[in-house]
Symmetry: C2
């Protein structure tokens, strides 16, 4: 590209880091890698990478999603750009961060293959991360909590068909609080986003649950939720 004119200026390094969330085993988990190189060698970090030439930050985030989680076509959103002075010991490197929501069964991690083997870790059990990634994670969790309360993004964490209990549980896990079952169902069904299917789901010796699906996929902003 013809950025001869920009050579007069100082260009910081620019990376993209992605907070990839999923729900698994009743917990909110995030994809982390163990760094293969310095700095922070062998420490946990968010997956990410430098922006390439002729690539947008969004493209970079999609590349990270494909490389580290083996998924495409999931919900993704830019979070914030972090550039605290000493966030990276290599120098002045800013990070444009994204967060992505993925239903667990879409993830395709090839076990043990990669050098920086990605793993889903329960967000409640994460001690310290490399760089300022703990701060990024905290920011991402807050955004996730806010966003499920005034949009329909929750759909991007669920399989195509799901029970109302699964849906409620997903909210409870993310918001980290109990929700009343009757009120939840009333409210959510009133939003008109869901349609019941003929199918039922049963597991163990309980009454089978009706499976629902979202009428429309795709993002929508709503009045309010909880």
């Amino acid at each position: 590209m013809q950025n001869s004119k920009t050579k007069d200026y100082f260009n910081p390094g620019v990376t993209v880091d992605v907070a990839i969330f999923t729900i698994e085993d009743g917990s909110l988990k995030i994809l982390l890698i163990k760094r293969a190189n310095e700095p922070f060698k062998n420490k946990l970090a968010l997956p990410g990478g430098f922006i390439h030439e002729d690539e947008t930050a969004h493209d970079t985030a999609l590349r990270v999603l494909a490389d580290k989680a083996g998924v495409a076509g999931v919900y993704i959103e830019q979070l914030y750009t972090f550039d605290a002075p000493n966030r990276d010991p290599r120098g002045q490197i800013m990070s444009v961060t994204y967060f992505a929501l993925v239903p667990r069964e879409k993830i395709n991690i090839e076990e043990g293959r990669q050098t920086e083997q990605p793993k889903f870790i329960d967000v409640e059990k994460i001690a310290a991360l490399s760089f300022d990634h703990s701060e990024i994670l905290a920011y991402a969790r807050k955004r996730l909590q806010d966003k499920i309360q005034y949009t329909n993004v929750i759909y991007s964490l669920l399989p195509k068909l799901f029970t109302l209990s699964q849906l409620q549980s997903t909210y409870e896990i993310i918001l980290d609080k109990k929700i009343d079952k009757r009120n939840f169902r009333k409210k959510f069904l009133q939003l008109g986003l869901l349609e019941a299917t003929e199918k039922k789901f049963s597991e163990g010796r309980q009454r089978p649950a009706v499976l629902y699906r979202f009428k429309k996929t795709g993002f929508a902003e709503l009045k309010k939720f909880f």
Copy 2:
């Protein structure tokens, strides 16, 4: 700085652009400059500049605020990072954007002095801007509308003392809708953010209005507003 390791990578240019809002003459206005150089010479644009070495984007935004609007210590917040492929004809240059809220009387623009003389323009009367700045402006307005509804940032657009009518008018201008006077006063006073002063404000032949002030300055997140 020792960013020898990052030399292996492509570093895009990084600018900071700032949407500086104020209320003047019953309108929401934004500070714009007329560009002195190509690209977009003589076109209107948001004030901004390249990030300097050892400077954070936030620092850059403060520098822009000081240089173009002559203010410091005002409300400022990072908005979003824009990096669409052809947003800048000079090449791959991303913009980390900020928005700032300033009471009109704090602004110190020295008329006619600067090469790119900044002016406040009514946001409703802006046709086209340079680069993708129209998109940035739209994004900033949306953020402003949202933010005054669940935080107390409105304080940063008002003088220290103000009447409830001024406060209400500020909301009406930004949200672009009429609000019922009685409901507004009831609700806002109930929030407990304001205290009445002994002073009154009168202008013309009306009943003088009580002047209020915010009990605490500084940002606060609230339950809800409107």
